[in-house]
């Protein structure tokens, strides 16, 4: 049998077999080690490598929610958010790139652009000085802002320059297209995110919305890994806030009060326009209203809404409450006869009037028509202290308004037992008691609305991102005086215009009822006493069925207080309101209650 060397059949020498076995053993051990490590890494994840890798791949991205708009009753946008861009630069990259290539669409070639040329082009687009742009681009910072709040169209052109290191960052910017018109009411934002004043502050939660989030895995090449985690929580945009204001009337009122304040060098002035049937506020005009686009331009004290924040002694406008109270209590009527001496003394307290007169035979209407303190105290003293307090309280004095603005004033109405001998009578004509302009307007609203007081409204509704409108329900109305009393008081107010002293409140074609108020303004510097006057006029029209109330207030006008009238301002604003809302000219005979008893 022939031997075939090399075949396996050949019996091995024991040494070779041994070597093989050792080799196999080593191989198996290595396999075990590698296998074990594999199991440790893949199966048990010792050291948290997989977790760390996942964490490094997972990229969370915040999806910003768009802040809701603020619109007026007609949908005019008062505040909205727009996209703006910040142009930022990686200075290291830009400084180190002497030239870069850019595709030229005209020649269809790659142009080589030097850094200087790029800077010149950028400066041209930004409208900035070339040396300043160069300064901004040079340095060793990885992040530096070159320009802020650049418009999308400009951002597009800057991006096309392809300058190395230049990136545009999208930011949301709040704009107020109507500027200072209702600027104080709307308020403004701090850092472009948080409401800092006005509606922006109080309705921040509603306007803000909820931020969304997207979590996805991203590879080392910067591309999203398609089959991996991709969680999306969509952002919920903020709701729009719809106000009851009318921008046009608001503008008109602001112009009117600004003119008046400038003419008389007053400290400040406000105008309120209210719809008597709904309690909707149509205008809350302030002087020196801030432009929310740049609120820093006006003083801090001018950035609020004085119609609701400033409480002051209202003066003679309060006589309306006294008249309504005595009529409702059955203690008097508009034609009641009063014999009024030049000065009236009761409980040792002497009261005089703003004008000198002898002993006069007056009606209650005449007392209000000529705004007599003496007569008001005479009529009001028929009420007990407790009744006077109760009636002021019923008309909303000392009761906070709640229209959704920050720092609404409550005013001060002291308890009757705390009144001193004089205060118990001065409250009858609006001294010794303080209230905001809106509180005065609310009291007059209940008279205009036949005795039913409606709470004033500023926020009409919230409009959800899906377009659904959620009306803010009106608060419960309350009957303050009977319809008959309200009508008698309306006649007294109208007679003050037709027969009394407030003839300059008359508007051609419409029946108007009004009341003036002049009060001494307490000093604000901590010293006792008074240092000026508050002059106001509140009125309603058309008197056959009052629809609107306008109040004009002027704080500390310069010059003689007796020569000052808010009549023309009241008239122009009221006429504008009546015309805007297409109120037909008045019908019926104007009330002309006699002011004197013959």
């Amino acid at each position: 049998m022939a031997q075939n060397p090399g075949t396996s059949k050949k019996p091995k020498t024991p040494a070779a077999r041994k070597r093989l076995r050792v080799g196999l053993g080593i191989m198996l051990t290595l396999l075990l080690v590698v296998g074990g490590k594999l199991f440790m890494v893949q199966g048990l994840d010792v050291g948290g490598m997989a977790e760390a890798a996942l964490a490094s791949r997972l990229t969370p991205q915040v999806l910003p929610a768009e802040r809701g708009k603020i619109v007026d009753a007609n949908g005019t946008v008062l505040a909205s958010s727009v996209i703006r861009y910040n142009i930022v630069v990686d200075q290291v990259q830009n400084t180190n790139t002497a030239s870069f290539k850019r595709y030229n669409e005209k020649t269809e070639e790659l142009d080589v652009v030097t850094r200087d040329q790029g800077i010149a082009e950028l400066a041209g687009l930004l409208g900035a000085d070339e040396s300043k742009v160069r300064e901004a681009l040079t340095g060793d910072k990885k992040y530096a802002v070159v320009a802020k709040d650049v418009k999308p169209e400009l951002e597009d052109r800057i991006s096309k320059l392809l300058i190395p290191g230049i990136v545009a960052e999208g930011v949301s910017k709040r704009v107020y297209p109507n500027g200072s018109v209702a600027g104080g009411v709307i308020g403004f934002l701090q850092d472009g995110t948080t409401g800092q004043a006005g509606i922006e502050q109080t309705q921040d939660d509603v306007l803000r919305g909820t931020e969304g989030k997207r979590v996805f895995e991203i590879g080392a090449d910067g591309l999203r890994i398609p089959v991996a985690t991709d969680e999306l929580t969509p952002a919920v945009d903020g709701s729009d806030v719809k106000l009851t204001l009318n921008t046009d009337i608001q503008y008109f009122a602001q112009q009117a009060i600004q003119n008046q304040v400038d003419k008389l060098s007053a400290e400040w002035g406000v105008i309120i326009v209210m719809d008597t049937k709904t309690g909707n506020l149509i205008a809350l005009a302030d002087t020196n209203a801030p432009d929310p686009n740049d609120p820093g331009k006006v003083d801090a004290k001018d950035r609020g809404v004085r119609s609701v924040t400033a409480a002051y002694e209202p003066g003679s406008v309060e006589k309306m409450i006294t008249a309504a109270a005595v009529i409702e209590e059955g203690k008097s009527n508009p034609l009641d006869h009063f014999t009024i001496p030049p000065s009236y003394t009761i409980d040792g307290q002497t009261f005089t009037d703003a004008f000198e007169h002898g002993t006069e035979e007056r009606t209650l209407a005449g007392i209000l028509g000529w705004s007599m303190n003496t007569g008001t105290v005479m009529a009001g003293s028929r009420l007990t202290k407790e009744q006077r307090y109760d009636w002021l309280k019923k008309f909303g004095v000392g009761e906070q308004t709640d229209i959704g603005l920050p720092a609404e004033a409550t005013g001060i109405l002291a308890k009757p037992e705390q009144w001193d001998d004089r205060q118990q009578y001065t409250v009858l004509f609006g001294q010794g008691v303080s209230q905001s302009t809106l509180q005065t307007v609310r009291a007059y609203q209940s008279i205009a609305n036949n005795g039913v007081m409606l709470q004033p409204r500023l926020i009409d509704s919230y409009i959800a991102p899906d377009g659904e409108e959620h009306k803010v329900p009106a608060k419960d109305p309350r009957q303050v005086v009977s319809k008959e009393t309200a009508e008698q008081v309306q006649d007294i107010l109208e007679s003050a215009v037709t027969e009394g002293q407030i003839k300059d409140a008359a508007i051609d074609g419409y029946r108007v009822g009004a009341k003036t108020g002049t009060s001494q303004a307490p000093r604000e510097d901590g010293l006792p006493g008074f240092d000026g006057y508050t002059a106001s006029m509140v009125g309603m029209a058309p008197m056959e069925d009052p629809r609107f109330i306008v109040e004009v207030v002027l704080q500390r006008p310069k010059g003689s207080i007796y020569g000052i009238t808010n009549g023309p301002v009241f008239c122009s604003v009221m006429a504008q309101v009546l015309r805007t809302y297409n109120v037909p000219p008045s019908t019926g005979t104007p009330a002309r209650l006699p002011q004197f008893v013959k």
Partner: protein, 218 residues
């Protein structure tokens, strides 16, 4: 029984075997002779070429379809991206135009533009009642050249000041100042107009400054 024994065992025993009928025409034929082998030409088989071609064509068609599909999908993707970019651009453009429109609509700008066109605000209005054929109110014509008085500053939205183009090369808000030199100085209402007046605190949308307390008796 061993295998060898089984082979030698007769399959029938005795006369128990059934006599099978022998076919008549088939008597015990003599042993068949084998057909002699000869070389023959093979029968011509079916031609396979059309099938193969069909396969190739089908494959090519399938590949082509996939390719076309892929191309169309990626083209559509490019189109999608392009359209999305276009939508975003249009959105921004729309936002920009809306803002411009709002700026033109702002009452201050509208009033300034009207004044520039020579319009003056009317003062006293009259009403005509068609039902009762009465005229109420004495409408008086507005007088040109009346001092418009205080003007609210136009909204200071960045990049939106070009509503009433400036006649001069000075401050863009210059033309909102009262025209007549006899008119009162710019009011504090229009701080933008009074460029000389520097506000004490420049906040520019920032936070409210710390409250400043008045010293008593000041």
């Amino acid at each position: 029984m061993s295998n060898a024994a089984a082979k030698t065992m007769p399959s029938v025993v005795g006369n128990t075997a059934r006599a099978l009928p022998v076919p008549a025409g088939k008597p015990d034929a003599p042993r068949k002779t084998r057909t002699p082998l000869s070389l023959v030409r093979s029968t011509p088989g079916k031609r396979r070429t059309p099938f193969v071609v069909l396969c190739f064509v089908a494959m090519a068609a399938a590949l082509l379809t996939v390719l076309v599909l892929n191309i169309s999908v990626s083209t559509a993707q490019y189109q999608l991206v392009q359209l999305k970019a276009e939508a975003a651009t249009l959105n921004k453009e729309n936002q920009d135009l809306t803002q411009k429109k709002q700026n033109y609509e702002a009452p201050q700008n509208l009033a300034a533009k009207a004044a520039e066109l020579g319009m003056v605000p009317s003062t006293v209005k009259g009403q005509i009642n068609v039902d009762t054929m009465t005229v109420t109110g004495k409408a008086t014509p507005a007088v040109k050249g009346d001092n418009p008085g205080a003007q609210l500053a136009p909204p200071a939205v960045a990049g939106m000041l070009d509503v009433v183009p400036s006649v001069t090369t000075k401050d863009p808000l210059e033309n909102l100042k009262p025209v007549t030199p006899a008119a009162p100085a710019p009011t504090p209402a229009a701080p933008a107009a009074g460029t000389a007046a520097t506000p004490p605190v420049e906040l520019h949308g920032g936070s409210v400054p710390a409250p400043q307390q008045k010293a008593p008796g000041q």
